[in-house]
Structure formats: C-alpha cells, structure tokens
Subunit: 349 residues, 4 copies
C-alpha cells in the first residue's frame, strides 16, 4: 500500500526490457543516434505536427529550461500558487533564469483563475521597469492536487496569454494522467488550445528517467541545444532516454499506464466516499486522491503498512480540516494494484 | 570499428541486468532508498573513509556542481588548457557558478605544469578585487588526451593548492581508466594526495548514466543537497543510478572494464607504432589513442568502416602534423574488441 | 507642489558644495582615499562600533548585495508583501543572488507580522530540499508606506531571526526618516536590536547618489569587496560618494533634513485630517502621506500644479477606497516647503 | 606627479559647477527629466544619428550590460588578451551574463590581430554545442596600453564580425582619448565602421561618475531599460549624471580634456625618449605612457613624490625587461600639468 508518490514505483517491465534490448552495440552520442531520431518522429506523430523535442533528466529541468528558453530581463511568470514549479523545485526555475520570478496566482481546485490571472498581470504595466515584465504563463496538467484543466479552461488562459503576447507553458509531469482524464489527443490538449511548450513527463508514469521538453512551434526551441548543454542536461548516452520513450509510446503503453493510475485513484475515491473512516478533501480525475483523516486513523493505517504523505495544506484550504485531522495525499501509479486499494479501503472501515 | 568515443557504447550487460532486477517494487524517491544508502556505503568502502556522495546525471553536472560547492565571488578556477571543463561544457561551470571563471594553464601531455600553475595563480594577488580571487584547481584523471597524472604529479599540484588554501577537484569522467593505469586504490589516487572533490564517472565505462560527486571530506558537501536540487539534478527514481553503480562495483566490474579499455588502447598504440601507415601523436596509458594519419589514410579507413574523430589540435601542438595530415582520436571502451583493433591495424598496413 | 517622490529633489546645497570642494586634487581611486577612510570612521562613530561600510550607487544595489553576501543555494528571504525589494526592484535581488527567492509576508501598516512570519518560515522545514531554505529576513525602515517599526517590533522580528539562525537586514533607503521618527540612535535602532546589515540610504534625503551597505559585524562583510566589484558597484572616484556622506553627517545635517521631511508630512497629514476635501488612508510618522481623494479632486489638484502619484493599493487594502476615489501618495523631502504644503491644503479645501 | 591613473583626478571645475547649478529644484526621477532628454539629444548629435543612450555608474557596468544585451546561451565574446573586460573587472561580464565567456585573443600593441581572431572564432563551429557559440567581439579604444586602433584596423575587425553575424562592442572607457588621437568624429570611429555598441566613458576624462551605454542602432537596446534596472544601475537622481555630461559636451570640453591628457602623454614620451634614465616600452598616442626603468630609478622617483604603478606585463612581453627593470605605467589626465611632467623628466635625468 505505497501511496507516497508515483515516483516510488520503479520502471514498467516493457521500459526495463527496452533498455536491456538497446544496451548492446554502438550509437551516436549526445542525441544524434537513429533511435533518438526515431523517437523524435514519434513525438511529431503524437502531437500531430512537427515539434522540437529535447530529452532532459528531470521534470525540474524541463520546467526550468522551458522558462530559460523564453527568458526576459526582469521577467515574471505566472503560475498557480500551489504549482510544483513554485513550491517544490528549490528555486530551480529562478536559478536557471538568473532570477526571473514566479508570481503565484490563486484559483480553486489547484487551477489558475483567469480573472485573478488578469489582475495579477495588470500589476506589471508595460514598460514599467520597477515592477519587471511578464514573460510567461505556466499551468500544470494534471495539477498538483489531482484535478485537471478542461479544454475550455486551458483556452481561457491561453486567450489571456495571447492577448498579452505571453508564451503558455504546460508542466506535464503528469501529462498522460491529464490526457486520459480528458480523453483528448495530445494536440487537442496543447497546440490546438494555444499551449506553446510542454514539459512532457514519462518518469511518474512508468519510466526510470524520461522527460522531454516539447516546443509545439519548433522555432521557439532554436536556442535549446545550447541552453540544454549549458544546463548540464545533454546526456551522452541519450538513447537510454530514447529507448524508454520508444517503449513508452509502443502500442499506447503510456495511455494504458495513465488510465490504470487514474482508475486506481477513482477506486480509492469511491471507497473513501463510501467509507465512514475518512472523507475526500476534493475529487479529481487524475491519479491523486486527497483524504481527510483523523491523526488516529492515519496512524492506524500506517501501522498496517499504508504509506502516504500528509499534505501541506495551503492557507486558503485550512478550513477543510477539523480538529485532529490531517490531509492524506494518496498517489496511485501504473504499479498500484486493486488489492492495494481495496486493502486500504478495508482498513479505513 | 567504432572509436569515436567511449560514450558511443551502450550499457554493459551486468549494468542492464541490474536495472531490470530493480525495476519492480517501490522505493523511497529522491535518493532516500535502501539501495541508495547501500551504494553510498560502497563508496565509503572504495574510498576507504566516510565520504559524501551525490548522484547526478552527467559529467558536466558533476563538474559544475563541484565548482558551485566551493564558489566564491570573482572566483577563478585553474584547469589545463585542454580540459573538458573549459573546452567542452558550453560554459556550464561558469553558468552554474554565475560567472566564476576558468583560467587555462599550460603543461605538456595534457597535464598542468606546476610552475606555470604557480605563475598563473600569482596573477591574482590576495585582496586585489579587479582580478578576482582564486577558488579552486581542477585536474582531469585520466586526461582529455589519454595521459595520466602520476601520484607524484598530483601531489605537486596538491601542494600548491594547499599552500594557497584552494580546494583540489578531480574530473574523473575517466577515473577508472586512470586508476587502473596507475594501479592505485581510489584513496591513494585522491584523498591521500590531497584531492578534495571527485567527479566520479561511470557512464564512459559501461553505465547508461551514472555519475557521482564525491566529497572526500563530507563537511565540504554540506550544501550539496540544495545545490543539486536547485540545479535540477536530483532524480526522483534515484535508484536507477544506484542500481547501475551497484552492478558497477560488484566484483570489481568497473576495474575490469577500465582495464579492458586501456588494454585495447595499448594494443592500438602498439599496432600503430609497428605500422608504416600512421604514427602516434603521443602515448598514454588510458583509453585514448592519438594517431597521425594522412587525410587519404583517414578517408580510406573510414571507407572501410572505421569511425573516429579528427582531434582539434591546440595551437601549441600544431607542429606535430605534417602537410596533409590529421590527428585521429581513437577511443576504446569496455565494448571494444580485439577484432576491432586488429582490423583497424590491418587496414592501416 | 512636487510630492511625487523624495528622489525628485536634487542635492542639498551643503552636499553640492562638498562635491565642489573635493573636485580638485588627486586621491586614491576605488575607495582607498583618505576621505573614504575618514567617512568610514564616521560610520563607526554613528553606529557606535566598528562596522564594515561599502559605498554603492543605488538602493537596489545595496539591497541586492546585502542579500548576495548571505546567499544560500535554494535560499529564501522573507520581506513584507509591499516591500520595495519585492515590488520595485525589477527582480534585482533575485538576479544578483542567482535566483534566491523573496517570500512576501503579510502584516498591517506595511510591517511584517511576527506570527505570520513564523508561519511562513515554517513552510521551509530544515533540510527539505524541495522547498528551499530560509536565508534572511529583510525589513524596511521607514516602510514603503510611511510607517515606522518601533524598537519593540524590530526586536520581535529579530528574535525570530535569531531563533532560526537567519541574518536580519534592514532596507534603510529612508533610514533617517525612521530614525528621527523614533528618536533613537542608529545603534539603538539596529545593532542593539539584532539587525545585522543595513542598506543605508542618503539619496532620498538630500544626496545626489550616496548609498552605503553597512555590516554591523564586519566579519559578515568579508566577501563584499569582491561581491561589490563583481556587481559593477565599485566606483573609481569613490570619493564623490564619500564627499556627499561627509557633508551629510556634518553637524547632523542628515537628521535635520529627515526631521524636516517628516515635519512636512505631519503638516500635510494634519491639514488633510482637518480638511473636508480628502481623508487620510492611514497615518505614519515618516515622510510619506497617503490621502484618499476623489478622482475629481485629484484632477483639480494637478491642474493647479500639484504633482503626486496614485498609489497602487495592494488587494488587502482595496476596501479603503470608495467609488471614484484614488489613493494619492504624497512624499515630502528636505526640499519641501511649508508654502508647498499649505498651498496644497488650501487647494484641498 | 600623480601618474597612477586618470581616475585619481577628481572632477573638472566645469563638471563640478554643473552639478552645483542643477542641485536645486525638482526633476523627474529615473532618467525621465528634461535634462536627461536634452543630453540624450546631444548624444544623437554627437553620433550623427538617433542612438539609444543609457546612463550607468561604472565602466564595468557599461561593459557588462552591453554584453548582457546581446547575451546567448553558451555565448563567447572575443576580446584582446589584455583587455580591461577580461583582466580587471572581477568577472563582472561573466556574472551579469550568467557565465557567457570571454576568450582572449592575441595581437601586438594591445590590439586584436584579425587573423588570430578568425582562428579563435573558428574554434566554435556553428551548432557545436560542446564548445559554445560566438556572441560578440569587443575592442577597447583607446586600448589598455595607450595605443589606438586605426579606422582601418577597426574596419578589419568589423568585417569579421559582420561575416560571422556578431555584434561589435567598443569599450570606450577612454573613448575621447582615442577619438582625438585619430582626429575622427564619433560616428566615423564607430557606426561608420560597423561598431554596434559603445561603452562611452566620461569618468576617466574629467567627470565624477558619468558613463553611458550607447546603442548605435536603437533597436539593439530595446531590452536595456529592464536590463539596467535589474542590474541596479538605474539611478533615481539620474540628472546628476546628465548634468555632468551636459557640461562635458558643452563647447567640446570633452575633446579639449582628452587632447590635454594625450598631449601630456606625448610630452612624457618625448622626455623619456630623450632621457638616459629610462626608455619607452612602446609608444602610443593616447594618455598612457609605459616606461622601462630600473627598480632603483623607480624607487628614487617615488621618493621624490612621483606616483605610478608597476604594470603587470603579460607573459608575451616579458622579454622587454632587462634584469632589475620594471615597467612603469604613467597615466595622464585633464588634471596633469606641464610642470608635473617636466619635473618627472628632470628627475629621470
């Protein structure tokens, strides 16, 4: 019953096998191999257009290099207040951009509210050097709290971005979970809605270490080769990432894995709703479940082998908890089993 | 006959198997797993003391974070003029240190000359803010050109470092090749000689992607957890690196692989010396061979399937080449075979 | 009737004269002149201890270098939500620290609330690399909105800083205004309360361009010579700043100028309180007055020659304004006259 | 007999007077005053075209922001090996550009040799990420060693810059000295020859603190307002710089001052040539004289009140000195008198 995080799982057998298969033989280093090329083609196919793809090692790298690629002096990027990029990356985006700032934007359900976004952007009047200048909007799909922006919600933010001439970045550490929740194609969830850059994550969905930075307009990524190398993210044996992605996309494995993870979350959420031992903090279609438990219940569950983190509630949500209660984050993944979920629910009862 | 680089090889079967074995199951993320801990213990054993070890994804990352950890305002690090850190990392060390500079130091055989080093350091008088201030010395073992610092040579540089209060860093992208060439233990090649920090490379010697930053005095690495996370080098599924290192160290596999690579280079060098079709630029005990060929010969070899790079000769060595000659760099690795070498030598004849 | 900002005034005649007097002759460059030394001694006297003083050109430079001097990887500094350092410096502090972040802390009257500060710091648990690590607390005295921290209030924040091992920085762009408002000595307002570093401003109080970074414990400033030079803030003809400070401190000119500016603000505030044409947003003893006016009144005042800025109200204070109202910021300085103030009040009536 | 540096002089009386005259009254802050505007027009007139001008506080700032404005990831700028930007700015250009590197280029007389420049640029093949990418060429006029690029020499470097698509920057800390030495107009020495950006120095030629960054094509400076503010170089009372420049340009004062400084150098050089007590290291038409003296002579001169620095000879010039000899740098300025020079020459004899 490991619900700590989807990155506590290892690698899906098909991914592991792909690495094994590709271990022998020689291949051009630094991303120039045939396999790298082939997987880049797969990205083109998936996004239904020619894209520019750059493999990197971590989600934090993908996000940081995305912002580096559109960096401006005095630049300010707008993200949700609870976004990974501002809460969980130790200032990496600011470090890689030499101090370009992240401004938190509020909004319910872990999603940026368009009206609040507009009012935050308005705090940076054009040419007013003291405040700095807007440089990007970044959204997370699926969000840090298991919710998912609808196509309409993305479009609303994209409209604001376009009106202000700002690139729109999507942190897709859990891209696949959002995608299958919406039932959209990658293009329909991104380029068609005006998303410009995607941090495309494979690691949380069954890879060992496979992240890609995808520019839906390749011209926007023209400096990335130097940006990536300078950032120490150009892997010499790049095909070890390519091989993972090759297996990831083969026969839609990635969609199956994400569907499984989401299904496990739905099962958990249904169980918790039906249970008297806990209640849901909120519902979300992706692979994260947030349950409100008493500390006693949390202790008892852990004593039985359940593993999960207490979530650090943002101030605006503190009213959710009663006395002696905690908010448990339960993350499911490709490796979560029905049995794990059912046992957890049984223990709750 | 792939002699382009040791990073054109894939992963040794034992490494690939280790990944496969560890793919199943759950483990604490971000370097907190039992396997991470176990491999850290192995590093302690290998270096014969308690060290602080941090896994990172690339050699450039290891070097850049090493320098970040000892960064000073206006800082200047001294390296050999042909070092990877100054020639081949796209400015990453300067980027990660926010502009701390690398000053090239000359010396024969790809190795820093201690007297020249002293005179370069003397250009930065203490407290003279205009010039900046020395912050580190960094050497490469084995060097970019296949040579190896002897213990005495390292000690001579270390003495200068100690006299000036400067940390001594070793770029060990090819640490194992240098080590087996000298027949020393890791401690004897580093801590015993006053080396403070090692970029410990596994990738060029049979891993997919396994680099470690090793602080021989753990206190020097105390900020590294934040430095690494901020640099986007903290891998969530860190055990994918740990698993590679576990297999790498098992039954001294790493030493065997490096010995093989060096032996292949010695075989190449012997063959070239005996051949009338080429001559050696210089000799070196590690896994890089530099052969002087006519362009016609190079073309003919390539037509037969040999792959290698023309090396960009530094100005000081341009006298080595006659008219119509080029300097071919031939890198051998764990994956190089006797047959590859022999065929190359046969073609030369 | 120029109430736009205290930096719209030029230089006090005594300051201008000092520059003229010192223009002739030669003096050691880069801060090594006798006059530089003499003024450094004056700082020692004023702060009642040996301090380390570094002249810089702008308040933004002073703040940015203060934070640079205590920089940590993943570092987070806590400031009031409306502080200059986070609102008006175009990201300079983040730029100079390579991305160390500023976290806004709420509190009434433009001052950090100690309880909220504690809860914000608590969001960065020790050793939790994802969040980053606290590195400083910075307060503004007098504040951006004309209020002044009492000694007790500074002490309360300082206690938190000490408990957490964090340096306490004071942005004293309007140091003198705060000082005379409290009637304290510089030492009593800083070192005695645990303040570690002061951005000591002269520009807003009658100098052309004279800012100093003061380390109350000189050991904390040991890297500043290199930090300053690297930041392009070491002036070759440093005595042009020294000369300004010499005149500034002569016969307590600085205190007189600040007292005058504050007195003009008090006169304005009294006039507004007594007037039916406007009301005060809040009161503050320093040299900034915030008046709530109708847009019509503002327009009429400007038509008569009054100059002032509409202040960008933070969201939390928007309730202050009625419909068709604006918040006028009126800044007084050494150059403001009774006549300016009285004419403004008369126009209001 | 102060020959230490031209920045040991103070401010010319006309400059000091201008500050005094402008001290009273109010003016828009942050570069928006009428006087700022007027001086910007003067720059247009002087450069014979519409330029974009940005005042900054130091020459190091001007150079660093010039390079920031054309920054590229992995960027490499080419400068002379003895240039101020690489030797005397404590790494500021690298710091402000987050690690963009400076590559030293050799050449006689303190000037870049075009052929060597080409071969250095060729070390960075297009798209080769490991090496980084060229981003600028920067030359110094007059040079660090008192020589001056001829128009033809600038054109030759400019041709290389244009062929490679690289902006050409001129560090004009001693712009006026070079200008009057050549007898050219500012436009003829810059824009007409393909120079794109000028660090235009006033401080070494009679100002207290007046430097400007001039973009000969204003479009290239479009980001500078944010770059400057973020770099803490936007002065609130900007007119204190503008006032200096107004006086500087009035009735060609600047040209007169530079002519005087150069004339004093010529007088020194003539005296030294005629003297048996020293010889010239080399001749140069600007305001720096390099004399080879025995240490005994140097000591004797200093005992009589002469002040000058021993110059740190680059390795390539060490053959110039005999045993027991030193190279004295003698800098003249607007404040140097015939009497100072003649007394020095007399003492030499």
């Amino acid at each position: 019953m490991i619900f700590t995080s989807d990155n506590w799982a290892g690698a899906h057998p098909a991914i592991a096998r792909a690495l094994d298969v590709n271990a022998a033989g020689f291949a051009a280093a630094y991303g120039a191999s045939d396999l790298d090329r082939k997987v880049e083609q797969t990205f083109n196919r998936i996004f239904d257009r020619e894209v520019a793809v750059f493999f990197v090692g971590t989600g934090t790298a993908a996000n940081s290099l995305a912002l580096s690629s559109i960096n401006r002096p005095g630049g300010v990027s707008f993200c949700h207040r609870e976004a990974h990029v501002i809460e969980d990356e130790c200032g990496a985006p600011e470090y890689f951009t030499h101090g370009a700032r992240l401004v938190p934007v509020d909004g319910p359900d872990g999603k940026i509210d368009p009206e609040i976004l507009k009012s935050e952007i308005a705090r940076f009047p054009e040419g007013f050097v003291h405040a700095g200048q807007p440089m990007a909007i970044t959204i997370t799909q699926s969000t840090e709290i298991g919710t998912v922006y609808t196509a309409q919600e993305i479009a609303a933010i994209s409209d604001i971005a376009k009106a202000k001439g700002l690139p729109l970045h999507m942190d897709g550490a859990r891209f696949a979970n959002g995608l299958v929740a919406l039932g959209l194609s990658p293009a329909a969830m991104t380029a068609d809605l005006g998303v410009d850059i995607v941090s495309f994550g494979g690691t949380k969905n069954g890879c060992w270490c496979a992240e890609a930075l995808v520019f839906l307009d390749p011209a926007m990524g023209k400096d990335l080769p130097f940006i990536r190398k300078r950032a120490a993210q150009l892997f010499s044996k790049s095909r070890f990432i390519a091989a993972q992605f090759e297996a990831y996309f083969e026969a839609d494995l990635w969609l199956d894995l994400a569907t499984h993870a989401n299904t496990m979350a739905a099962r958990l959420q249904a169980g918790i709703k039906a249970s008297s031992g806990a209640r849901l903090g909120w519902e979300g279609p992706a692979n994260e479940t947030f349950a409100i438990l008493t500390h006693d219940t949390a202790r008892a569950l852990r004593a039985q082998g359940a593993m999960f983190y207490d979530w650090n509630l943002p101030r605006s949500k503190r009213g959710l908890l009663g006395e002696n209660e905690t908010l448990a984050r339960l993350v499911t993944s490709y490796a979560t089993t029905d049995a794990d979920v059912d046992r957890f629910i049984d223990l709750l009862a």
